[in-house]
Symmetry: C2
Subunit: 164 residues, 2 copies
DNA sequence: GAGAGATCGTTGCATTTGCAACAAAAGTCA
DNA sequence: TGACTTTTGTTGCAAATGCAACGATCTCTC
């Protein structure tokens, strides 16, 4: 054990602090304006891209566990932002989709989120952004090779092969 | 609102996923071997560096809120890893310090944590690590300039001025 | 087509979390 | 000194979390 060990220089800690700070900044907007939680936000974002999905789809895509998705969808349905349709085809699956109100809410909320991201990205030059992406993928790869790590739900679909 | 918005390409989300995965991987070790939570782990790490600190010190250093520190310390004290001394000087402050058992526990736990970090870092070359650090600091700086963002508890002490 | 096993979504429950309120102890200023 | 404000640490409480268990449905095999 070294006699100096500083959290501030410990990569996992630094990642956690930055990530939490960014997430909180992001959440302030959609939480204050629409009372959305992070889970609900992610569900809505996913629904924006697809027609109708199951709880399992959302779980895999948005990195949330089943109960979290289930409850988030329940709250969103109660709020009228989402509708659940059951039965078509596989009777276990639930077809979750956005309502018009949900789409409208996202139209209000998305710009603020993208603005936060834009400000973050604007601080980086092209090289830094490229390196950041590569680094994050490399760190994921280390965890992918570690049996003690939780597996990724969403593995990138063989990112563009034009890497130098 | 763009008609394509992918969580997987949204920086805040990507940061959150990576960070959570790393944190969980790290926690599996000290949680399984010593039943430590993340908050307890951070408290112990901080105590490793200083003699005796207050709840406030730990809160600022380890980015935890007061109740979390208070409860973490209470559990650690009950587990015999930490001792609380009161009254010397300012009667409100609590002097928290490691016991021998606490130091021993850290000696057992730290190597595993450092090993996880080492594996992560080994996937990066010097340039990538340097860029990662710079990028993270830049992202923090964006949030520092944003009134809606939660302030940093621990601002780097004017990092060493030997940057090229 | 009946039964074993897997999968899907929900619910229960104990624990944790975040936030506000609080008592106790300093600090402030007349 | 004595009221007022601030700071420190703890506690209460409603809400969220993680995990296991559950019923319902589908699949597979014989």
């Amino acid at each position: 054990m070294p006699d100096t060990f500083d959290l501030m220089e410990f990569l996992p800690y630094r990642l956690a602090i930055l990530s939490e700070r960014v997430s909180r900044r992001l959440a302030t907007d959609y939480e204050r304006t629409h009372g959305l939680t992070v889970a609900e936000w992610r569900v809505l974002v996913h629904l924006l891209r697809v027609e109708a999905v199951s709880v399992r789809d959302i779980r895999d895509y948005a990195n949330l566990d089943k109960p979290k998705v289930s409850r988030a969808v329940a709250r969103l349905e109660e709020a009228g932002l989402v509708k659940k349709r059951r039965g078509s085809g596989d009777g276990r699956l639930v077809a979750i989709s956005l309502t018009d109100a949900g789409r409208a809410a996202m139209a209000e909320v998305l710009p603020a989120a993208q603005d936060v991201e834009a400000r973050l990205l604007s601080a980086l030059n092209a090289t830094e952004l490229e390196t950041l992406s590569r680094v994050m993928e490399k760190l994921h790869a280390v965890l992918d090779a570690d049996p003690a790590a939780r597996p990724r739900t969403h593995v990138p679909a063989t990112e563009n092969p034009d890497q130098d």
